[in-house]
Amino acid sequence: MFEHWIEWLPQLLNGLGTSLLLTACVALIGFPLGLVLGLLATAPSRLVRALVIAFIEVFRGIPLLAVIYLLYFGLPATGVTMAAFTTIVVGHSLNLGAYSSEVFRAGILHVGAGQREAAASLGITGRHAFFHVVLPQAIRAIPGPLMSMLIMVFQSTSLAFAIGVSEMTSTAFSIGSMTFEYLNVLVLAGLIYAVLCIVSARIVARVEEKLN
């Protein structure tokens, strides 16, 4: 059993590279999107707030797999065709944006009105108060939940299997279909995911403890 593991490991690690690359791309697009959505959800305009909240509720309410299929099979009909890799990045980023917006919003609300008032009394108002007083404090309150979300994103990049991006799950599956050792190779892939997730979750817990 284990001699196969050594033989398969290089291919799986290659797939893991793609999984990690997907995760990084999703973080780079999804978190800024979440920040913008979180800010807009606290905007003074009622219309903006309603639209943003509808967007967030919809993307939090639909399975990620449905979003991916909609983008991958549905968009070409409207003239937009994306590669499978891009589809996964876009679908996950929309999803992460919706989920993380709540964390950003809570972080912003967490910085009390007192801070804004204190800034205003020092003559710091508007844009300056936001970028130099509110945002730095808001960002300090949220790394823990955001890192946990990133671990979830890493796990759910396995959905890329459904549209044939050769990340770790797809790689394991195709090794399985060639060798008929599905159990063996999928367990190995599962353990690689688990070890990475468990170790990062422990690190996140440690960091959260330090920040508190």
């Binding site: 509720e57 919809v58 939090r60 309410g61 639909i62 399975p63 990620l64 797999l65 449905a66 979003v67 299929y69 909609l70 099979f73 549905g74 968009l75 070409p76 009909a77 409207t78 796990q155 759910s156 396995s158 959905l159 299997f161 459904a162 799950t169 394991a172 599956f173 399985g176 599905y182 159990l183 063996n184 999928l186 367990v187 892939a189 599962g190 353990l191 995911y193 688990a194 070890v195 997730c197 468990i198």
Partner: protein, 218 residues
């Protein structure tokens, strides 16, 4: 000639809605039944009980849901024959057991220490301290996160379509392969999830509000 109107697609996909709800309810129930003993072991003072519980919870949460389903359907069904639906139910139950056990553990750990001390001071036996004082409060604390997990689980069941369970997404893919417009078909599928998920998440927020006013946490 097939009919791909909104109404006809809605009707076709509604057949999968039952399977989606069935998977959510069954795996949440089985998950809860497995999670209670796991959480008790996890919070035990005895290492011999705690260590295996930590391992089971970590593994169940550490392996991505899709990989779990592939392991069970493609890995185990050659040894023990399994149809897609039972394979999906087993996988989703294992996953929810891990998440719910962690919720229950957090519930037990977050009951204020003073409660246990007060119970001990009143002369309650250790077993009564736990079952009559700690457990009811721990349950209250863990209900809101478990309710929001039910919403997450509803959406997670969609991955069972990949191993061939005839849920909403699976039927949607069928409709598309028969010639339905993918935009329309998947939008209807999304609508069905929202129809169930949004009331469920409002309910979970309502429960959160009710419970929050009742407990003292650590």
């Amino acid at each position: 000639m097939s009919d791909f109107s909104f109404a006809s697609i809605l009707q076709t996909l509604s057949a999968g809605l039952g399977i989606t709800i069935l998977m959510t309810v069954v795996s949440f129930t089985v998950g809860t039944m497995l999670a209670v003993p796991l959480a008790l072991m996890r919070t035990s003072k005895l290492r011999i009980l705690r260590a295996p519980a930590v391992a089971v919870i970590d593994i169940s949460r550490g392996i991505p849901p899709l990989v779990w389903l592939l392991i069970i359907y493609f890995g185990i069904s050659p040894i023990v024959p399994l149809e897609p639906l039972p394979a999906g139910l087993i996988g989703l139950s294992i996953i929810s057991a891990g998440y719910l056990a962690e919720n229950f553990r957090a519930g037990i750990d977050n009951v204020h220490l003073g409660q246990k001390e007060a119970a001990a001071a009143l002369g309650l036996t250790p077993s009564n301290q736990f079952w009559r004082i700690i457990a009811p409060q721990a349950l209250n604390i863990s209900i809101p996160p478990s309710a929001s997990y039910a919403v997450a689980l509803l959406k997670d069941t969609a991955i069972a379509s990949i191993i061939g369970v005839a849920d909403i997404i699976f039927l949607a893919q069928n409709e598309v392969s028969r010639g339905g417009s993918a935009v329309l078909v998947f939008s209807v599928a999304a609508l069905l999830y929202l129809l169930v998920g949004i009331p469920l998440s409002y309910f979970s927020r309502f429960v959160d509000g009710v419970v929050r006013s009742k407990v003292v946490t650590a």
